[in-house]
């Protein structure tokens, strides 16, 4: 009746964090209110606008209604992550997890933080748990790790699924779109599926014609994997125009030499 709030401890050992780092807090309140769609929109708008004061004010209003709302807390964590305050982000995410146990999105974000901290194994643990909960973000992040460590086959499925979703709207401006498309092409290429890879690169090169990484991979595919110098040349030409990093330029030079030798 009178209890305004009860604070309780919930351990986080299950999430792989050390218990001595922090503990989650669940706020039990008399009456929670659902955060309205419009409130949530305003909150997202404030988040995206990067107006911290405005954003925190709206977070406060929302958490007043429901201090355990996972979406609001997660946005607050994303804000902290954006501010590179990873420890604070972890406090907030664990607070959200205390009342939304095994929320795959929250687990994914803890994985993201772990990865940013260079704690690959911890990140993998979170991602795997998030994937088990159905998190597409975590599948994508896991695929990113796999690509990075050359496990193209392992990453292929997740990237293919992600690509099929972004493919219809490659022009959405989301930086992840080009990353997904490119990495999918790489996964195909690394797995030996050159024809499929060529289709992907051919397709995305039209949209991301100034993306050095896309063009470089496409060029490697055309030169080294399927040996189509005619197709490779215009790609290399574009690439030479866009690239400025020495390492990339060296690689371009190497590819041109290979075209020449092939031609000879």
């Amino acid at each position: 009746m009178i209890i305004a709030l009860i604070l309780a401890f919930l351990g986080l050992q299950a999430f792989g964090e050390t218990s001595s780092t922090y503990q989650a807090v669940t706020y039990k309140v008399e009456k929670t209110e659902k955060i309205s769609t419009s409130d949530l929109k305003d909150l997202v708008k404030a988040y995206l606008s990067r107006e911290e004061r405005q954003f925190l004010q709206k977070v406060g209003l929302s958490l007043a209604k429901n201090p355990n709302d996972p979406q609001v807390l997660n946005l607050l964590a994303l804000h902290s992550m954006r501010e590179r305050q990873h420890d604070l982000a972890k406090i907030v995410l664990n607070r959200a997890l205390a009342s939304s146990e095994n929320n795959p999105g929250l687990l994914n974000n803890l994985g993201v933080i772990a990865l940013r901290e260079g704690r690959i194994q911890r990140a993998v643990t979170f991602f795997r748990r998030a994937i088990a909960g159905g998190s597409e973000s975590a599948r994508l992040n896991m695929a990113g790790l796999q690509i990075e460590f050359g496990d193209f086959q392992g990453a292929l499925g997740s990237l293919q699924q992600a690509y099929s979703k972004v493919r219809k709207n490659l022009n959405d401006g989301d930086p992840n779109t080009v990353a997904i498309a490119n990495n999918f092409g790489v996964a195909l290429m690394g797995s030996g599926s050159f024809k499929e890879a060529e289709k992907v690169f051919e397709e995305i090169a039209k949209v991301f014609g100034k993306e050095v990484k896309v063009l470089l991979n496409y060029a490697i595919l055309l030169v080294e994997k399927i040996r189509q110098p005619d197709k490779a040349r215009p790609v290399l030409n574009k690439l030479k125009f866009s690239a400025d990093q020495p390492k990339v330029l060296q690689r371009i030079e190497s590819l041109e030499k290979q075209i020449t030798s092939v031609k000879e």
């Binding site: 420890d87 993201v112 790489v186």
Partner: protein, 1047 residues
């Protein structure tokens, strides 16, 4: 770890307890209860009612001087009963008128003397008539004086009669003058004596009587003169002289005045104590009268002998009462007056005995008469007389016995009454007499009980009342009797029965006792009302209306009756209040409220109005009808008398509290927003109230519960800044809640500062330093975090405080100060920490820091400790395996380094030894790496496999690159190289195999890390066909999840 605290109990105190505690002296309920306890002092006063006047039960012992017993006046004997004196006087007057005319007409006639004598006789008759009339009137006035019906003492003035005596004297003297020799001279002489005696001129009268006796001794008027002289002396109480003259007549039985003289002689004898002689004389008179029956009776000086006998018979009782005995009475009277008349005389004698105090004789005679005819109409009176006889007896039991016999035998439902039922008057008379007697007796007993207060007397009176109501249920005095029985029972503390009789007395509004009886019934039943302790038992903690138990229901009924009949009676207010307070006690609030309201409305100046006001408010308080409470309070204050009374100021306070309670009520109904607004409004409206800050605090709490946190924080801040001593508790809590709410709403930076401020202010809250530290750490304000962890560590004396040391070590690492970090980790490890994971990690971090500081020995020691600690703490459940695996791996790197350090020399004789030495190290390394794999940590399984590949690859490379021995020809050289190839190739194949396993396990077990990339790179180098170069450009995909809110 954000330390939490159990704020529930705290808030309980704040929200309930505080209010209650702060109201401990002044809550609405307590105030009202206090007032109520004093309200019980409202008393209804019982008036005293004197018992009604009552006659003595009996007066049987009247002392009666027998000498005062008188015979009938002579004048009365001249006229028979029923004589019309007025007519007689008229005839006499006519005769006088006619004769007077004749005497005038014949005044010179020789027969004028005859006319004078006849006229003189009429004058004498006229004088007698006037005297009789005057005397009768005088007697009546005297009786009225005795009976106190008149205050003036009567005077007997016989001058009117005497004027005719004088006229008669004149005519008789004229007759003696003119006719001295006439035969009627004796007559003239007698009447001259008679008339002079009537005029009081005794000497002259005596002279004429003497002359008559001397000059005319044979005359009939001699007896007349003796009788007249006897009468003269008798009237002057000279009974001896009188007896002498009467005796002169009684000597001659044939004398005209014989019976009369004998009768008067009897009285003279009686008066002189000669009772038996007197009795004999009376017997003679009676016999003379009996003989005269049927004869001309006008022979005794104008007085009937029969009548004289009648008088004598009456007097016989008196004389016998003096001389005879009761047991002989019946035979005596039967002998003297005959059987038929004897009963009357016996009855008279019985009454005489009763009147003269001879109880025994009277009682015997009455009882005898009752026994002879128990259904007689007089029987009831005989028994009554017996009752009377014992009325003043000290033997009260005898009286009660006789009284009871009387009531039983002759009461309204007795056999006697049934036998005489046709005689309604008789029955009524007897009933009235019984009622009066019994009532007088009861009231007398009641009076005694009142005077003595003795229980015995009270019970005597009570039994009388009980008998009375057994016999009588109606009657004009019945309500009076019920009332006084109620009074007696009240005195005897028989409250219920008293109330019953009071109620019966009050039944008729016409009863003079209606008002008092109604009130006294209330008072009697009020005595039976339960005391406070009993009330508590009856009602307990019940909230719902409780039915009145019988004793209270009885009280309610009589109280309502009283109020209906006497709504403005002097006791109406306390009765009404008492009734209302009973309704209140029994939770019958809907009944209590109108009662209290009426009292406060109509009688605001009374103390009952003050009590009622408070109880009325308390009812609303209990019902939690605070709107009603406020309205009632305002109504009370609208009455000037109440507003100015002590209760007025209390009501002011109550109203204030009711406003507070109203807010509490909304709160209890979970209308937090409403409660918050009400509390805030209270605080703003009553800024000087002692509850102002409490209200503000409660407003904050309810705003918080209504999720209006911003408002809550604002109010908490106001309360927290209060410096008032009384507000210390809520100020402290407010400061605490501010921090909590800031944290709750994600305002972490502000929350951290608030936690720190609170912890600095209140020394009992070390955990708030911890909270502040954790958040500052998250905010990367490491100095602030260190400061707060340090304070936490200093203030907290429990083992748990070690966590602060551990956290500070980590912060120093983040601050890239390995030496400080090392110091805190070491402090942590030296403090007997118990958190297994932290211990293992700390040990590992010490190894890493030592390694960074190039402290080789320390590094190795801490890696070893990490492994040992991990092993020790993982006896039940594996813990910290990744740290132990890495520690183990790091320790093995030295073998790899040793392998690499062994160079194969150019000297062929020494080459084999070197190779063998390397092979030994390689074998040991491979065996040691199995220890790493046993930790089953994916990353270090990959690392171990990769390092195995590295070692084999190194062996192969060392062999390939070993210095060629000198002196070999080309062929020999080729042969040598082939030999080397054969030796080195297996190492190369083993290396490829290890790398391949590392990559495969890395992918399968998610063993991502630098060693996986090493394996991949080496594979591409060693087997580019199988593992082609894959220098693709990839994008980092690190996608945070917005949980669907960002599309």
């Amino acid at each position: 770890m954000v330390k939490t605290f159990s704020s529930s109990s705290l808030l309980m105190v704040v929200l309930l307890g505080y209010a209650e505690l702060s109201f401990a002296k002044k809550t609405v309920g307590d105030l009202l209860k206090n007032i109520e306890s004093s309200a019980s002092t409202s008393k209804i006063k019982k008036g005293k009612v004197a018992l009604p006047k009552f006659g003595p039960v009996v007066n049987s012992s009247r002392d009666r001087d027998l000498r005062q017993v008188q015979p009938p006046r002579r004048s009365s004997l001249y006229y028979e009963e029923g004589t019309n004196e007025a007519e007689l006087e008229r005839v006499t007057d006519e005769g006088i008128s006619q004769l007077f005319k004749l005497t005038q007409q014949f005044k010179t006639s020789p027969r004028r003397g005859e006319l004078w004598l006849r006229l003189a006789e009429l004058y004498v008759e006229k004088a007698r008539l006037i005297e009789y009339r005057l005397q009768t009137k005088f007697d009546e006035e005297l009786a009225a004086l005795r009976e106190k019906k008149s205050k003036s003492k009567p005077k007997l003035n016989l001058s009117a009669a005497q004027s005719f005596n004088k006229k008669a004297i004149q005519l008789y003297e004229w007759f003696l003058r003119d006719y001295p020799k006439d035969d009627k001279v004796p007559q003239a002489l007698f009447f001259l004596g008679y008339n002079y005696f009537e005029l009081g001129e005794e000497t002259k009268g005596k002279g004429y009587y003497a002359r008559l006796t001397k000059e005319h001794p044979e005359s009939l008027f001699v007896d007349e003169s003796h009788f007249a002289l006897g009468e003269y002396y008798f009237d002057r109480s000279d009974f001896k002289a009188a007896l002498g003259h009467y005796s002169m007549i009684t000597q001659n039985p044939r004398a005209r005045l014989y019976s009369f003289a004998l009768y008067k002689a009897a009285w003279s004898q009686y008066k002189t104590g000669q009772v038996k002689a007197a009795l004999n004389s009376l017997e003679k008179v009676i016999r003379a009268g009996r003989l005269a029956k049927g004869q001309d009776d006008r022979s005794s000086g104008g007085v009937s002998r029969i009548r004289l006998a009648g008088e004598a018979t009456k007097d016989l009782v008196v004389f016998y009462g003096e001389a005879g005995s009761a047991d002989q009475a019946r035979s005596y009277f039967e002998r003297v007056v005959g059987v038929k008349n004897s009963t009357r005389l016996l009855e008279a004698l019985a009454y005489f005995y009763a009147d003269t105090g001879n109880r025994s004789s009277a009682s015997d005679l009455f009882r005898d008469m009752i026994d002879r005819d128990p259904r007689s109409t007089k029987a009831y009176d005989y028994q009554y007389q017996i009752v009377r006889l014992y009325g003043s007896s000290v033997e009260g039991s005898l009286f009660r016995k006789e009284l009871f016999l009387w009531i039983e035998g002759f009461g309204p439902n007795s056999p006697w009454a049934k036998a005489n039922a046709n005689d309604a008057d008789l029955i009524q008379k007897s009933t009235d007499l019984i009622e009066t007697t019994l009532r007088n007796y009861i009231l007398q007993q009641h009076q005694t009980a009142q005077n003595s207060r003795a229980e015995f007397s009270q019970k005597q009176a009570q039994s009388g009342y009980d008998l009375y109501f057994t016999v009588f249920s109606t009657g004009e005095r019945i309500e009076e009797m019920h009332f006084f029985y109620g009074e007696l029972l009240f005195d005897m503390a028989q409250w219920e029965k008293a109330a019953y009789h009071y109620s019966l007395s009050a039944k008729s509004p016409k009863s003079p006792y209606h008002k008092k009886a109604s009130l006294n019934a209330v008072l009697a039943l009020e005595k039976r009302l339960p005391d406070a302790k009993r009330l508590k038992q009856l009602v307990g903690d019940a909230q719902e209306p409780i039915r009145f138990p019988k004793e209270i229901a009885d009280f309610e009924k009589v109280a309502i009756d009283y109020l209906n009949f006497f709504p403005t009676g002097e006791s109406a207010i306390p009765v009404r209040y008492k009734l209302g307070s009973l309704y209140y006690y029994f939770n019958q609030y809907d009944r209590a409220l109108p009662v209290f309201k009426e009292i406060t409305e109509k009688h605001p100046g009374t103390k009952e109005a003050q009590y009622s006001a408070n109880l009325m408010l308390d009812i609303y308080n209990i019902k939690k009808d605070f709107e009603g409470l406020e309205q009632a309070g305002k109504q009370i204050l609208s009455k000037a008398e109440l507003a100015a009374s002590p209760v007025g100021s209390q009501v002011q306070g109550i109203l204030q509290r009711s406003s507070f309670k109203r807010a509490q009520e909304m709160e209890s109904k979970s209308d937090f927003a409403g409660a918050a607004a009400a509390y805030e409004s209270f605080s703003e409206s009553n800024p000087n109230s002692e509850l102002s800050q409490s209200a503000k605090f409660n407003a904050a709490v309810n705003f918080e519960r209504a999720n209006n946190i911003a408002k809550a924080i604002a109010l908490y801040m106001q309360v927290a800044s209060s410096k008032a001593k009384n507000d210390a508790g809520i100020a402290k809590n407010s400061a605490k809640f501010i921090a909590i709410l800031l944290e709750r709403t994600g305002q972490y930076k502000a929350a951290a500062s608030a936690f720190e401020s609170y912890a600095k202010e209140y020394s009992d809250s070390a955990e708030f330093f911890f909270n502040a530290a954790v958040i500052f750490d998250g905010l990367q304000d490491y100095n602030a975090a260190l400061r707060n962890y340090q304070k936490y560590f200093e203030l907290n004396k429990k083992q748990e405080r070690l966590i602060a040391i551990y956290q500070m070590a980590k912060i120093w690492e983040k601050k890239e100060n390995p030496r400080q970090a090392k110091r805190f980790y070491e402090q942590y490890m030296n403090s007997n920490p118990i958190d297994a994971e932290s211990v293992i990690e700390s040990s590992f971090r010490l190894a890493k820091i030592s390694e960074g500081l190039k402290q080789v020995k320390a590094t190795e020691e801490w890696y070893k400790k990490t492994i040992a600690i991990q092993k020790r703490l993982s006896s039940k459940k594996p813990i910290g395996a990744s740290f132990a695996a890495e520690a183990q791996f790091q320790l093995l790197l030295k073998f790899y380094e040793e392998l690499r350090r062994i160079k194969i020399p150019a000297n062929p004789q020494r080459q084999a030894a070197a190779v063998n030495q390397k092979l030994a190290v390689l074998e040991r390394l491979k065996n040691e790496l199995k220890k790493v794999i046993r930790f089953d940590d994916a990353q270090f399984i990959v690392a171990a496999l990769t390092l195995t590949g590295q070692a084999n690859q190194h062996m192969a490379a060392s062999l390939y690159n070993a210095p060629l021995p000198g002196g070999l020809d080309k062929e020999g050289l080729e042969t040598y190289k082939k030999g080397i190839e054969q030796v080195a190739l297996p190492f190369k194949d083993q290396a490829i195999q290890s790398y391949k396993e590392a990559v495969e396990k890395g992918y399968r077990l998610d063993g991502y890390g630098e060693w996986l990339n090493v394996a991949r790179t080496e594979l591409t180098e060693l087997d580019p066909q199988t593992y082609p170069k894959a220098d693709f450009s990839t994008f980092e995909i690190l996608v945070p999840d917005s949980l669907g809110v960002i599309k």
